[in-house]
């Protein structure tokens, strides 16, 4: 067991970890931040995506020890300071970009990372960027639409509802 310190959602945190403790486990079990989900064991589903020093990573495929000293943002840290939904979150609600909600934290974190690099992505860029995020519920239609809307694009032309 070793001690690890990092900043999570703006707050300094520390905890006891083993070498093999994954960042996802540290967040979920160590810090009780269960918004980060685990949907696979082959690093493919993206339910676990968080930001480490601003970059989207799969927290199930990174050891907590590697995040020592890093600045980590999870879905719990995405709302505005007043508690209202952030832009991406709000777009997901407005456009019904989630159903069961299990993939949603990873989707929102990936979408936020995309919009940081590419403020007005095309449909194709969004679909390509989401290669590592599986959703079994939405058929992706409303997720792609929500991300376009979050980037300020007019999505009224995209098929109804």
């Amino acid at each position: 067991m070793a001690q690890v310190n990092m900043t999570v959602n703006g707050k300094p945190v520390s905890g006891e970890i083993e070498g093999r403790t994954l960042l996802s486990d540290f967040l979920r079990e160590g810090l009780g931040l269960t918004g980060t989900h685990v949907g696979c064991d082959t690093s493919q589903c993206g339910a676990c995506v968080v930001h480490v020093d601003g970059a989207a990573i799969k927290s199930c495929t990174m050891f907590a020890a590697e995040a020592a000293g890093a600045d980590v943002t999870t879905i719990e840290g995405m709302a505005n300071a007043d508690g209202s939904l952030g832009v991406v979150q709000q777009a997901f609600q407005d456009h019904h970009g989630l159903q069961c909600g299990f993939c949603t934290p990873g989707m929102v974190m990936s979408a936020a990372a995309l919009l940081k690099d590419t403020p007005r992505p095309t449909e194709a860029e969004i679909r390509d960027y989401l290669e590592g995020n599986l959703c079994r519920c939405t058929g992706y239609h409303n997720i792609v639409k929500a991300i376009m809307a979050a980037s300020g694009q007019d999505v009224s032309a995209v098929a109804a509802e």
């Binding site: 493919q44 609600q93 995020n133 519920c137």
Partner: protein, 787 residues
């Protein structure tokens, strides 16, 4: 103007707030004080005799609490099957036992041999590796047709063969169908495989068992679509715990698609072990484990023949299907290839004579059960493929051939035992051709050609039976349970409403849509209405969510309970207003006396119900809470028409979906936004089945596609934006909301559209290809093109 609340509006989903901020509560988020973790040691061979399981060394490993094997479950019941099918000759299906932990034999890769309970997950897994297991390996049966040959190795030694049942439907039609096919002007025959799938909700299954010695109560937290069903099956058949000592909680559930209907061994184990060990026991499935233990779906091998007369009218249909049951009968497995499949073989067409034969087969593979659509996608796929093939053989337009044979008069009694109440198949086809811009196809075809690509158009229809459904009917068909739904509507003193429903939501948005209905009925704001579900402790006995039944059956129960509440409230209002009950009207949250300006607000009436100072106590009791159990008298029959356009790279065989349109008739629609979302999700799953997904076993019973490395899930760039429409509405005639159900349509209607489109593209390019089995992966399409 679209409505902004109530029925027909699309308010934002309230559940989204917690999901979007990371504070949903899924089963894996639950950790109980003092909990231990279980790891299941699973068979890595498909078929074998367990000669010894030695846990001595493992039991001494650090952190081990206790190791359980099949011997610990000898006096305990097996996992029950909830449906019995009677075969063609009147005999009941063969029904083997399904132990919680393997006893004597292992029957599929993943069959649990031992369960190690330890302080941590890793310790449990370490100890599991130290268990010494000796297995005498037996030849595996994987191929269904080989499994039913004489002399094939038997999955279950005590059964007479691997044939679970040989079902004929409608048996009395058999000879007439044979004759009609012999005498037909044209017969189109197609052999096809409905590929085996894995449901893959993104949340893997989890079970947490807990036991309270003080009250002798067991609690199971589980990822289930139907907590009451689990309580009934597990309590009554497996563990012998009476329902009043057993609570099952399914909190937020991360998708199900059928795979979380069934009662699984891990649920029974965690509940059992928690009581034995007097501490909570938790199991979280890995995705790898999910591939080996969640019930799979589909896996039919079918031969279908469609007979037509000289005018291209369908005269008879005959099918023979081998349906894989896997190694054990999962909860509803026997019903899928029979009652959920045979009864839909008429499709949208007035074929007068139909005979369906299904042979259900045991193999050394994981159990197969309902997956989104369950039986109806299998029926739709073969029917819509054979019609398409017939049209091509006859040189007629596939759409015209369909229209010519549509059922147009309702109610319509099919030759396969069901009666369609309403529908308008020409209307959805008309709508489809508009939203899919079928008229523009030729131009898009020319554009594809110019880029060296092939292009094809596939169109098809579907019908499904939803709202499952009438208990008297399903009882005759072999269900060992009723299939009603329940709701309690509790009105609080200050007028707020809590609806406790036996339905469950794992993505469908009940917390948003159910209040829309109540708000409409009473005329109050939706945020005055709260939905409670997923916990047997505070909801009435209900059958849960599957088969697109929640709104049609569960919503109807809620309407009935709300009607009772309103009727009682009217009595109170009549008393308060000193008027006759018959003159009381409820509108916009107030009761008024017809033809007067006298009124009393909803909240004043509800307050009077709980503070009955001025109250008709001699006539009615105080309080305002009613329960209803709703059992419909028929299924509902959503139907629609779908169109897919594909582009095909002739050099690599890669197919891309360029356009997909779905015109559905779901009857009345409560929340169009959510309905569209349900269709989108179903379409992606159907497109996934058609192009990408397939659970493949090798001849030794090893699952080759056992992770996302080999099981291709649809991703965002595999699908386009869809055009969906549900403005064609022929309301259901027999439920109070006139709704039909929308959860499965997309997955049912889309696979044939994709395959029809690929065949169309290939034939347009001159290839003599009439069929390719799903998934239409690049390599398969390319191989077909090589001839």
């Amino acid at each position: 103007m679209p409505k902004d609340h109530g029925i027909g509006a699309s308010p934002k989903r309230r559940e989204d707030l917690r999901f979007l901020t990371g504070v949903g509560r899924y089963t894996d988020d639950i950790n109980l004080r003092g909990q231990a973790h279980v790891h299941f040691l699973r068979s890595d061979v498909a078929h074998g005799r367990l000669t010894s399981v030695d846990t001595t060394a493992a039991a001494a490993m650090p952190g081990v609490v206790r190791i359980f094997t099949g011997a610990d479950f000898e006096g305990v019941g097996g996992l029950p099957c909830g449906w019995q099918v009677t075969d063609r000759h009147g005999a009941p299906m063969q029904e083997p036992p399904h132990p919680v932990l393997a006893q004597g034999k292992v029957r599929h890769v993943g069959d649990p041999i031992a369960a190690v309970v330890a302080e941590t997950r890793e310790q449990a897994r370490d100890a599991a590796e130290a268990i010494e297991v000796e297995i005498e390996e037996l030849p595996a049966v994987v191929d269904m047709k080989a499994a039913v040959q004489d002399g094939a190795p038997k999955v279950h030694d005590d059964l007479t063969s691997n044939l679970c049942y040989d079902w004929g439907f409608v048996e009395d039609n058999r000879e007439a169908v044979d004759k009609a096919i012999r005498e037909a002007a044209h017969v189109t025959t197609l052999e096809l495989v409905n590929n085996r799938l894995v449901a893959n909700p993104m949340e893997p299954r989890v079970a947490v068992g807990d036991y309270a010695p003080g009250t002798d109560e067991s609690t199971l937290y589980t990822t289930s679509q139907n907590p009451h069903v689990i309580r009934l099956l597990m309590g009554a058949f497996v563990l012998g715990i009476p329902e009043h000592k057993l609570r099952v909680v399914a909190p937020d559930v991360g998708g199900g698609f059928g795979s979380k209907i069934f009662h699984y061994a891990e649920e029974a184990f965690c509940t059992f072990a928690a009581k034995q060990l007097r501490r909570p026991v938790k199991w979280t499935s890995t995705r790898s484990e999910a591939f080996l233990t969640d019930a799979h779906g589909r896996d039919h091998v079918t031969r279908i023949e469609l007979a037509l007369d000289a005018d291209n009218n369908f005269t008879a249909l005959r099918t023979e299907t081998y349906a894989n049951m896997g190694a054990y009968l999962s909860t509803f497995a026997p019903s899928v290839p029979t009652w959920l499949h045979g009864t839909l073989m008429a499709g949208n067409y007035k074929t007068p004579l139909i005979y369906v034969n299904v042979k259900a087969v045991f193999t050394n593979t994981v159990a197969v059960d309902a997956y989104r659509g369950a039986g109806r996608p299998e029926a739709t796929y073969q029917l819509e493929r054979v019609i398409d093939k017939a049209a091509r053989e006859l040189g007629v337009d596939p759409i015209a051939l369909r229209r010519q044979n549509f059922v147009t008069e309702f109610p319509y009694a099919t030759p396969v035992a069901v009666e369609y109440d309403t529908g308008d198949y020409n209307a959805t086809m008309d709508k489809l051709s508009q939203i899919a811009d079928l008229a523009g196809f030729e131009a898009r075809l020319a554009d594809s050609k110019a880029r060296g690509k092939l292009r094809g158009l596939g169109v098809n229809c579907y019908i499904e039976a939803c709202g499952i459904a009438p208990s008297h009917l399903v009882g005759q068909l072999g269900a060992r349970a009723g299939l009603y739904e329940s709701a309690t509507v509790r009105v609080n003193a200050t007028g707020g409403v809590v609806v406790m429903t036996g339905s469950h939501s794992h993505g469908q948005g009940h917390e948003t849509t159910f209040p829309q209905v109540i708000a409409e009925m009473i005329g109050i704001d939706e945020d005055q209405v709260e939905i409670v579900h997923g916990d047997t402790a505070n909801t009435p006995m209900g059958m849960g969510t599957y088969g697109s039944r929640s709104l049609a059956v569960g919503g109807s129960a809620m309407v009935r309970a709300a009607e009772k509440v309103i009727n009682k409230a009217k009595k109170i209002a009549a008393h308060l207003l000193e008027a006759s009950e018959a003159d009381i009207e409820l509108k916009d949250g107030a009761f008024s006396v017809a033809g007067t300006d006298k009124s009393v607000a909803w909240g004043d009436v509800t307050l009077a119900a709980y503070v009955p100072h001025n109250y008709p106590l001699e006539e009615i009791e105080p309080g305002l809470e009613e329960t209803a159990f709703y059992d419909p008298n028929n299924f509902t029959f959503p139907a629609g028409a779908y169109a897919c356009e594909v582009e095909l790279d002739p050099e690599t065989g890669k197919v891309t979906i360029e356009r997909f349109a779905a015109a559905d008739d779901f009857g009345n629609v409560v929340n169009p936004m959510i309905v569209s979302g349900q269709v989108h999700g179903g379409l992606a799953q159907g497109i996934g089945q058609a192009l990408l997904e397939g659970a493949v076993y090798d001849e030794n019973g090893q699952l080759l596609s056992a992770s996302y490395m080999d099981y291709a899930m649809p991703r965002a760039d595999d699908v386009p934006f869809y055009q969906v429409d549900h403005s064609c509405q022929t309301p259901c005639t027999h439920n109070p909301l006139g709704v039909k159900g929308c959860g499965e349509a997309g997955a049912i209607g889309s696979p044939p559209a994709v395959v029809n489109a690929v065949v169309d593209a290939l034939q347009r390019a001159g290839h003599d290809i009439t069929h390719i089995d799903m998934p239409l992966s690049p390599s398969r399409v390319w191989a077909a093109m090589q001839g």
